[in-house]
């Protein structure tokens, strides 16, 4: 390959290739996250969910995308044309741009920036303009109210989420996404086990930042029709959806990198070779998983009601079989390839676990009222995150000075202190609220 490409553009080839792959795959991925969401919702409500298009609704996202593409494009007469056109595009572009610094594996990253994490935070905070400008340009009261709510909510929860990330950053000692994962390998522990309170604050903050239930007030359908996207239809509406789901993957990737060990497999430092070969015991987990899914799909295939569904189900099984073979083959490939393939697998597995938690929370909790949302953010999460930074920072310094090496000790001490602080904040807030809501004497 090195002979075909002139050396002056060689350093740009791989990043451009990765960029094209991400931009091409992401809309498909977003479509399937929508399907996953509908299926999980159906499961939790004891229904079947989409079942018609393809076996178990597996082709539903493609049908939806086609439908949205050919729908009529409606623009309100009194809308601000330029901004109305710009806003959804802005929303998607900013979400996609953030992928430039996300490490999907030790090598699969477009650019390893020195300020990687800050770059992702900065770019994803620009996505708000898609919502705010779209809501304003529609020239509708529902849209404007949705946009205003969104701006207030984002500014409040970004603070708490950012402060929560600081606790993990202090442990890693770097802003580069790659170095943060490497630090977790070197210290032999994922940061979620050292600063669980920081992870919890980030989880809540990231749900609010992506405007998802129970914090989906900008698009609360029972109050605002559809919030900022009331006047959008067809493909522009689809772009907003794509932006929202791409953003979900971004926040899940940040959480994965900072708290869940990035591309590292569980027990990354545990090494035990299988039957005397060069294969590590835990590296065969992905192969076993894909084999299991393949066998299950083949077992289900003859039971499908229609012939075409039988064929598609068998194809799904075949795809899993191919993936299993690929995972197994990567075990015997050179180290760089093996790390790349397995790293990407573990990274995506963690990202989807985080997204599953999002869906789970969405279908479990009722929506907050707007004043409750603000109170939770300002009276509880931000003070908690501030104390968390101080407590974790102090423990790290004490650790260095007293030769207090075990990370689990840090975890237990900081978590105990933080739970105490949380209980105190919760009680204070309850008393404050009781005083506010008490009837006038």
């Amino acid at each position: 390959m090195n002979h075909l490409i002139p050396p002056s553009i060689l350093p740009y080839v791989l990043p451009v290739l990765y960029g094209v792959v991400i931009v091409a795959v992401l809309p498909l991925l977003a479509g399937y996250i929508v399907l996953l969401e509908r299926k999980v919702m159906a499961d939790m409500q004891a229904r079947l969910g989409p079942m018609r298009v393809g076996p178990h609704g597996l082709l539903q996202p493609i049908a939806d995308a086609l439908k949205l593409l050919i729908k009529e494009d409606i623009i309100p007469v009194k809308a601000d044309l330029f901004l109305f056109w710009c806003a959804p595009v802005l929303s998607v572009t900013m979400a996609l741009l953030a992928y430039a610094a996300i490490p999907f594996g030790p090598a699969f990253q477009i650019a390893d920036l020195n300020v990687g994490l800050l770059f992702i935070l900065a770019i994803s905070s620009l996505g708000i303009y898609g919502i705010v400008l779209g809501g304003w340009a529609s020239n509708s009261h529902y849209s404007l109210l949705g946009a205003l709510r969104s701006a207030a909510q984002l500014v409040s929860y970004e603070t708490a989420a950012g402060l929560a990330l600081v606790s993990a950053l202090m442990l890693a000692g770097s802003l580069s996404m790659k170095d943060i994962v490497q630090a977790q390998y070197d210290q032999g522990v994922w940061f979620i086990f050292v600063v669980p309170v920081g992870f919890f604050i980030y989880l809540v903050g990231s749900i609010a930042e992506t405007n998802r239930a129970p914090f989906d007030l900008p698009e609360a359908e029972s109050e605002l029709v559809a919030g900022y996207m009331t006047e959008y239809s067809g493909f522009r509406w689809a772009l907003y959806f794509l932006g929202e789901y791409a953003n979900m993957v971004v926040v899940a990737s940040i959480a994965t990198t900072l708290f869940l060990g990035g591309w590292l497999r569980p027990f990354a430092r545990y090494q035990d070779h299988l039957f005397g070969t060069s294969v590590e015991l835990l590296d065969i987990l992905p192969t076993i998983l894909f084999l299991g899914v393949a066998v299950y799909s083949f077992w289900l295939a003859p039971k499908q009601p229609v012939k075409i569904q039988k064929i598609v189900m068998a194809l799904v099984g075949g795809l899993c079989l191919v993936l299993a073979v690929g995972m197994a083959g990567a075990l015997f490939a050179p180290d760089a390839v093996r790390m790349g393939v397995h790293g990407a697998f573990w990274f995506l597995a963690k990202v989807f676990t985080y997204i599953y938690a999002f869906l789970w929370i969405r279908f479990t909790f009722p929506r907050y009222r707007f004043d409750q949302l603000m109170r939770l953010g300002w009276h509880f999460l931000i003070p908690l995150a501030l104390v968390n930074v101080v407590v974790v920072g102090t423990t790290i310094v004490l650790q260095q000075n007293w030769d207090w090496r075990h990370p689990m000790l840090t975890a237990i001490v900081t978590t105990a202190i933080m739970l105490g602080v949380a209980a105190f904040l919760g009680r204070e807030d309850k008393q404050h609220q009781a005083a506010v809501e008490a009837p006038e004497p």
């Binding site: 901004l83 020195n114 800050l118 900065a122 620009l126 705010v132 701006a151 500014v155």
Partner: protein, 173 residues
């Protein structure tokens, strides 16, 4: 980092960002609709951030976006949406004091030119590339070790301003 600061791509990028910054600054002043002005202010700030990036000051680039574009401008837009836009559309945007404005502009230009002429010896800019790639750490160390006192004074000033704003808002409720 692969490209060197002197490569043609970098200077082309500089001219693109500079043109963007100046053009959107002019548009920001001349637009009648305040929301459009705010959008052009945002693009000006983004283009300035681009120039920081092109100078390999990554930390400044990111801070410019997070603070100004992601924080302050969101609040600007938020406040603009709350006020009545129709009133501002009918306000007279420019007043007619052409001659006074011309004299003032002339004086200001002359001042700037004199300042450049007096300080021309310091205009010899060094090699902008001589920066450590890990300049984030350098910023942190400078702020928290060498310039600790000014940093703390600035923090207290901001805190006082914040408390003052809260007190003023509370008194009216």
């Amino acid at each position: 980092m692969t490209g060197s600061a002197a490569s043609p791509i970098t200077s082309v990028l500089f001219y693109i960002f500079a043109l963007m910054a100046v053009a959107s600054a002019v548009l920001m002043v001349t637009r009648r609709n305040i929301i459009h002005s705010a959008v052009f202010l945002i693009t000006t700030l983004l283009a300035t951030a681009g120039i920081f990036l092109q100078l390999e000051a990554e930390f400044l680039f990111v801070v410019q976006i997070i603070l100004y574009v992601g924080g302050i401008m969101v609040l600007f837009v938020f406040v603009i949406m709350l006020v009545n836009l129709d009133v501002s559309l009918h306000l007279i945007q420019f007043n007619r004091q052409k001659y006074v404005a011309g004299v003032l502009a002339f004086v200001l230009t002359a001042q700037l030119l004199i300042a450049f002429w007096v300080g021309r010896s310091s205009l010899n800019l060094g090699d902008a590339r001589a920066m450590d790639p890990k300049n984030t750490e350098a910023v942190g160390q400078a702020l928290f070790q060498r310039y600790m006192l000014p940093f703390e004074i600035a923090s207290i000033l901001l805190l006082v301003a914040m408390i003052g704003a809260v007190v003023m808002a509370k008194r009216r409720v």
